[in-house]
Amino acid sequence: MAVKFDDKQKASKGVGIGIRRVIAYVVLILVSFLCLFWFYVLFINATRSEGDLNRGFSFLPGGNLAANWTKMLNFPMISMGTGMLNSVIVSTLTAALCTYFSTMTAYAIHAYEFRLKKPMFTFILAVMMIPTQVTVLGFLQLVRGMGLEDNFIPLIVPAIASPVVFFYMKQYMESVLPLSLVEAARIDGSGEFRTFNSIVLPLMKPAMAVQAIFSFVSSWNNYFTPSLILHDDKMKTLPILIAQLRSADWREKDMGVVYMAISFSIFPVILVYLILSKHIVQGLAMGSVKG
């Protein structure tokens, strides 16, 4: 395919391809530097002691990598291992529920004609526009009322109703999911639920991978709501533990350890991203459904 395009390109009158390529590389390299630089700074800070950090920033690593690591693992009342496990549980389930059910909701609006379709769509979009800050406090009272404190449910289950993800799925379906495909499945005698799971979901894979990453990351980095719901040390997620490291007693406070914990907590997200981004790329092959 690339060859074919290349042949044609010779005839086209755009800016010289060589120059465009150079510009593209220069911009991409610059942007990549801007993106990666922070990880370097984080890493540098994670290798320095509290004392070094007080002295000011340095581009060279310090000698406290192992010491910070040890100190982090042995910090009183803070178990990064348990925190990691909790974060993985909460974020994975949040991402899974969020993408699956948002796709389902989008499918309901996209594929069916029913009387409340338009009002429902408008309603969900309206919900999307309401700032969440105010409702957090009401949400907290609700959670206490239901006795769901120190429980992952109030962090995971509400993700089923994610208007933003729904909206994306709906938009994506508009460009990739022809209703004729659904009709064809019906003629073949496929049930609606099965059609959704075995025909619609695979087509939505790239979109789902994208939103799975986004919801995983935002759940992974969420501090405010979890900090108000989780108090048991065995339930706390990583952002709470990092905040706890930062508000530690003077005798124990060490920003080097805080940076170490931040670096430690980024690792799994990078892995998840690398794994899921594979699915986004795979989507390429299935792109040309619309005909």
Binding site: M77, T82, L85, F224, D233, K234, A243, S247, R251, K278
Partner: protein
């Protein structure tokens, strides 16, 4: 892609393996040392107060709730309880796991038959107070074992809880005036409600002094003797004149206007709020005017406390003459463990400075509705009134404890000296500063007022707004946070 993921995974696993390897080796070492330390202290405790402890246990066990819930934002109080309270046994160790590999028992300790549960919420973004507020508001309907029994507060927001019905009078716990007679007055001012009822106690005092750079003092004043330096900063007029002298010699007297704020604000003659109206005390305006002059002359800056620009003066290159702070600042937070820092070389000196002040401290409050009154009483008595235990805390934790005779005795003790302070025994300075500290002018609104006042006035000092706008911004910000106030 697959290959790439795999290689990243591999690299990650290897790195984790290596790091974990290092970690484990060191862990055992440290753990060993830590345990033996704790062991010694524990033994000492039991010996010292064995009769007391026995009596306390018997008292605590009868008719008490099965769970003691303690609300706090870090592990400081837990460590004090673990190390110094007779009869407290720590829950299972941090490293022990249950069948699923989860850590267990990290939060629970025991006092006799009572389970002690710590509810730790970080103070960041007000999460601690948000959590505590909801728990206290639901206190009445909570099951006996879920009720808050003890909660800890800091000075800036202590009155919010003390002036409410959710905290218990210390008297009602059975603690008498005689029990607490040796405590510093200011530590009681902080937790005394508007009717004069004392509702909390602290084991520590955090009197502040001025730590000065000895090298700089020798260079500029020709002497690093505390008395000579004190003469240069004995009041604000002297302080401001000395700022110029130091500036001409290449030093900032302090890093930032924020450094001196506490010293002014602890010496106000009226509270932040009078009859529902926001009130700016004269001494705070002195801070504004003095600091504005120093900032405009370029003698000091306006950086935030704890920023890198502020802490650079912990090292000689920072060219900062002094920091205002209590013992914990110089002992734990000024890079004294880092080679090349002023503290590492014992290069700080301590002197009283222009006015006395305090910084930090944690107060213990009993929550109304607790079913562990006897236990709380005993914890308060042991940790804040028992001279034996107080002395232990000084020695083990470097705290300045809330007990006059203990501190005064130690101030006279020639064998006690601070390495960070070049061998000086600074306790006499601390004692002098704290004795005449009067904090009867606190209000429920101090946290918001102090924060917003500094923000608004630093903006004025930076030259972004004029004084009237700064005041207006301050008033508006406080009223936004506290709609019940006017200005």
């Amino acid at each position: 892609m697959k290959k790439k993921v795999l290689s990243v995974l591999l690299a990650a696993t290897m790195l984790t393996g290596i790091l974990a390897g290092c970690g484990n080796g060191a862990t055992t070492d440290q753990g060993g040392a830590g345990t033996s330390d704790a062991g010694t202290t524990d033994a000492g405790t039991t010996d010292a107060g064995s009769t007391d402890a026995g009596a306390a246990d018997a008292g605590a066990a009868a008719g008490e709730g099965a769970v003691l819930n303690i609300y706090t934002w870090n592990t400081e109080f837990m460590n004090r309880l673990t190390d110094h309270y007779p009869g407290y046994t720590k829950g299972s160790d941090n490293t022990e796991t249950d069948e699923n590999g989860n850590l267990k028992g990290t939060v629970e300790g025991k006092i006799g038959d009572i389970t002690v549960k710590f509810n730790i919420t970080p103070s960041k973004d007000n999460a601690y107070q948000n959590n505590l507020d909801e728990a206290l508001l639901g206190q009445e309907s909570a099951a006996a074992d879920d009720k808050v029994d003890i909660f800890l507060v800091e000075a800036d927001y202590a009155l919010k809880y003390v002036n409410s019905d959710y905290s218990m009078a210390v008297k009602d716990l059975g603690i008498t005036d005689a029990d607490i007679a040796d405590q510093y007055k200011y530590t009681q001012d902080v937790v005394t409600d508007s009717n004069g009822v004392l509702k909390g106690l602290s084991w520590q005092g955090c009197p502040g002094v001025m730590f000065y750079n000895r090298e700089a003092a020798k260079e500029v004043f020709g002497s690093d003797d505390p008395a000579a330096v004190q003469e240069k900063v004995k009041d604000w007029a002297a302080f401001n004149a000395t700022a110029k002298e130091l500036h001409d010699a290449g030093y900032s007297i302090v890093t930032s206007a924020a450094d001196t704020y506490r010293t002014y604000s602890n010496n106000v003659s009226s509270p932040w709020v009078v009859d529902g109206k926001i009130n700016i005390d004269e001494n705070l305006m002195n801070w504004v005017n003095d600091s504005k002059a120093l900032v405009d002359a370029g003698y000091i800056g306006t950086s935030e406390l704890w920023s890198a620009d502020w802490s650079k003066g912990f090292f000689p290159d920072g060219k900062v003459f002094a920091y205002f702070g209590p013992a914990w600042l110089v002992n734990f937070s000024m890079s004294a463990d880092t080679e090349g820092s002023i503290g590492y070389n014992g290069g700080w000196g301590a002197t009283e400075g222009p006015q006395g002040f305090f910084w930090g401290g944690t107060w213990i409050c009993a929550a109304t509705g607790t079913d562990n009154v006897a236990t709380i009483k005993d914890i308060m008595l042991q940790l804040t009134c028992n001279p034996e235990i107080m002395k232990e805390i000084v020695i083990k934790d470097d705290d300045f404890v809330n007990n006059k005779p203990t501190m005064e005795a130690m101030a006279q003790d020639t064998s006690y000296s601070s390495k960070v302070l070049g061998g000086q025994n600074p306790l006499a300075m601390y004692c002098a500063g704290v004795n005449d500290l009067d904090l009867s002018n606190l209000s429920d609104y101090d946290q918001a007022c102090n924060e917003e006042f500094q923000k608004a006035m630093l903006d004025y000092m930076k030259g972004n707004v004029d004084l009237d706008t700064a005041k207006e911004n301050f008033f508006k910000a406080v009223v936004t946070k506290h709609p019940d106030l006017t200005y």
